[in-house]
Symmetry: C2
Subunit: 199 residues, 2 copies
Amino acid sequence: MSPASGTYHHGDLRAACLRAARELLEEDGSAGLSLRAVARRAGVSATAPYRHYADRDALVSAVAAQGYRELAGHLAAAHPSPRTPDELAAVAVAYVRFALDRPALFRVMFAEPCDPNSEERVTATAAISEYVRGIVRGAFPGADAEALSTTVWALVHGLAFLHLDGKLDTSTPDVVAGQVRAAVNALFTVPAAPSQARG
Amino acid sequence: MSPASGTYHHGDLRAACLRAARELLEEDGSAGLSLRAVARRAGVSATAPYRHYADRDALVSAVAAQGYRELAGHLAAAHPSPRTPDELAAVAVAYVRFALDRPALFRVMFAEPCDPNSEERVTATAAISEYVRGIVRGAFPGADAEALSTTVWALVHGLAFLHLDGKLDTSTPDVVAGQVRAAVNALFTVPAAPSQARG
DNA sequence: TGTACATCAGTGAACGCGCGTTCACTGATGTAC
DNA sequence: TGTACATCAGTGAACGCGCGTTCACTGATGTAC
């Protein structure tokens, strides 16, 4: 029998570090994400994580990559292939909710330049990017997919950050969802041209 | 004669600290923004800044507040009261350009929760928020101003961050401006409803 | 089954670092008379 | 104009801290025979 389910020393320190990092991130913000703190929380000596991560950046990139994969999962769960404005709004709500439920993780994912040395992170980043574009392409098959997908992604991404920074009311999940739906809906009801059209 | 134009000891350490902080920010990112580094760059002892800022947070908030005021200035310079899609796009381009020209400052302004203890920062934040909403209200006087202004701001804010994080091509200012204009324009040409309308 | 060995995950002491902040101080400037 | 004094911007030593990272090590596990 291979050591598949067995434990080897700690057992699975790599995963434990990731878990500890996620916890620290939400408790103390990204400033609290140090290798030493992660080791401490995993109940292991300060240098043990070096067996699994080359340095602090590698750990951070692994956390970010995991975040990207989870985000993709949440979007797919909201609706695998939205076609109507309501379906698209549901995906948008899931995106913003993800950000609000894991604010520090979301900031790490997007508010730091992506380390190009982490293949895992680069891959996960590209995947989420492609995923979002795919959704919009599916929703608007005839339109200029490139420009439109950028528009929709930017809109949703901006909504996430404005909520995160307290620029918009985040008192309850329903309030947030309502705002996101309204914003996405507004996209489909913008006057054909600004004010001069209304004389 | 009052000490209006005179120098008193350093002269104007408060402003010098702000200047040093801005430089450090763009050189080393927000991690490099320490009180000690600021003092060093201003050519002053490590503790001198405490005469002008209660603590590190106070300095950071002052930097952010200055950034908000500058951003408002840049937007107004692009167009004081946009009415057409092109005019609105010009303001959007100015917003994104501001972010790309001062990436670390922009991140400090938006990627950290606003410290509610800094009256200056809270004021500047509220001002830019109100300013952006005012612009959109002016451009769409008849529409649902609240939802629409959120939509437009989120779109532009999202464009800024996606560019900042390398999710969109930032190779030249013209390329960026083109993308922003396209996205804003897409806002006015979205199909009335997604794909089922095209059968 | 038992022994010898190789592997390598985790240890713990140690390094040098820059940080925020305190404190008692010094010394240049401004002001009252 | 000159002197005594008050103010307060800037100093410099010192504190304790947590950090990333190195290094030689130990000791549990897996493997070859």
